[in-house]
Amino acid sequence: MITTRDLTKRFGRVEAVREVTLDVREGDRYGLLGPNGSGKTTLVRMLLGLVYATSGEISVLGYRVPKHVSRVLPEIGALIEEPAAYPHLSGRANLRLLDAAGPHGARRTRRRRVDEALEQVGLAGIDRRPVRSYSLGMRQRLGLAAALVRRPRLLILDEPTNGLDPRGIRDIRNLLIGLNDSGVTVFMSSHLLPEVSALCTRIGVLDSGRLVLQEQLAALQEPTGRVLISTDDPERAVAALDGLIERQDGADLVVRSPDPAALNARLVAAGVPVRSLAAERRSLEDIVLEVTGAGSDQFGVPASGEPDVPSTTANGEPQ
């Protein structure tokens, strides 16, 4: 759905995006992660033809961007940084106006599509109040509705859950999963790891403009070969699992074993009361922090990846 090759963008002397080779596949729920200032927004803007690349290639839905961007954009719903609307008009009037601007917004179906989009984001009962009186969360929902009005095949969402309360976040997550199930590919950027963790099937990590990781989330979170056990009788457990214990912290044990089920059977046979037992998986936080340096809003913290040292992309090619 989206591929880029060695995509680079320089603003003056600042390299915002460096040689990014992105690969978003049909049906993905792709989460682009990275600290503030790592180039997420610039990358998103390049995909939409708003910012022109310094070098490299972009292809979206099989078309070259920005050359054929007018063919691509009608199939895309986008939320770019924050939502924006004309403050003196109502939410519904804003959606109608935006839909009427530009081609491909059939007037015949406009009312139905606008109503449907408002319903999808939970603004169905919206009144005629102007947008300037909306809360941050309502604006965010309206921005998502604007992305959905054209019934796109691909959603490109920059920080979609920004400004939403916990219920709103869950609503939007369920909405995006539902849309994805019906065939919409979702590409979102975020720095909220729990959000990406709960929603995405595939992630890319940007750091100082470089794509330092791109992989299926499930593959990244495969069991590490360790099992975490919590028991009321740690001594007997240690005795039963002699030699496999990697670390003990009171009643909690870290055990080296690829097979939690076999381990559990062994403990039960030895009469150990097991409180909980689970295969250890790396958290998304560990994964991201391992490959990224400090964010651009931090100073005096050494970056983990020196730009001069050749690093490798997720598909193993040297950059």
Binding site: S70, I80, L97, L98, A100
Partner: protein, 297 residues
């Protein structure tokens, strides 16, 4: 997209407020003149004002002369300066472009909205001031030659000071002294409206270009107005006579020549020509800049 821009134009309170203010100035002036019977003497004050006590039907011309130096250019510069920069600062520009609205198409739609605004403003001033002239000043009022009154705070500048005749009569008198029929008057007023609209579009082109350079709508509007002020300064400066024929405001008052008998075309033609050049140059620059620029707001 053009329909969308026109919809935005008419749904905006600012549009009607600024047009209302533009129409209010001639009305206030007319009320003062009618109450005091003190029109500025011929050759002083704003163009045509000395004649309107006798010939209320000429008031549209006087009204246009009143709003031309400041009110109209300010309103047009604000509208045109807001067109791209305003969308950029509210963030709606990126959503329009991602819809997608082509950049050229957006610029053309914005230009058409500015033209529509200018036309509405000029027509509104003409219509309301005609009504004012006929109702308040009256076409057949007894002559009362002003002896003091409004002094010329607005210099007539180029195009010749008006020396409208003072004879009372059914036919309106041209600046040259020969009478104009009602049909001729309408012709001349329409000509003046067209000329002033085109002059304003020169301003609009400059403001539109600046609007593509910055994300500050007010900056773009003020930049265009600063250009006009600079031009006005140079127009009155003898030392700058070499560049004067090319200044945007040099022929702004040439529309007064529509009210001579016969019409004195030389400066009118030059005025149309210079505005056309400004429009072509600055609209091309606006397009070249906007079509290739990164939209980062």
């Amino acid at each position: 997209m053009i329909a969308v821009e026109l919809f935005k134009l008419v749904r905006r309170l600012r549009t009607w407020l600024s047009i209302g203010l533009i129409c209010a100035l001639p009305l206030i002036v007319a009320v003062f003149i009618a109450v005091t019977h003190l029109a500025p003497p011929p050759g002083q004050g704003s163009a045509f004002l000395s004649a309107v006590l006798n010939e209320g039907q000429l008031y549209p011309a006087a009204a246009l002369a009143l709003v031309l130096p400041v009110f109209l250019p300010v309103a047009v510069a604000v509208m045109a300066g807001d067109s791209i920069a305003g969308e950029a600062s509210t963030g709606t520009l990126r959503y329009l472009l991602a819809r997608p609205v082509g950049r050229t198409r957006l610029l053309v739609a914005k230009l058409i909205a500015v033209i529509a605004f200018t036309l509405i403003a000029v027509v509104a001033v003409t219509v309301t001031s005609y009504a004012t002239g006929v109702l308040i000043l009256g076409p057949s009022r007894a002559a009362a030659v002003g002896t003091g009154g409004i002094s010329g705070s607005i210099a007539p500048g180029a195009g010749g000071a008006p020396t409208a005749g003072l004879q009372a009569g059914a036919a309106v008198t041209s600046l040259s002294g020969a009478p104009l029929t009602f049909l001729e008057l309408i012709e001349r007023v329409l000509g003046a409206m067209a000329f002033i609209t085109v002059s304003m579009l020169g301003v609009a082109a400059i403001a539109l270009f600046l609007s593509t350079l910055t994300d500050s709508a007010i900056g773009a509007a003020l930049g265009a107005l600063a250009t006009l002020v600079a031009s006005e300064v140079l127009v009155t400066l003898n030392a700058a006579s070499a560049v004067q024929p090319y200044l945007p405001t040099r022929y702004w008052l040439a529309w007064i020549d529509f009210f001579r008998q016969p019409i004195f075309w030389r400066n009118i033609d030059r005025g149309f020509g210079i505005q056309a050049v400004y429009m072509v140059v600055f609209l091309a620059a606006a397009w070249a800049n906007f079509a290739t620029r990164d939209v980062t707001t």
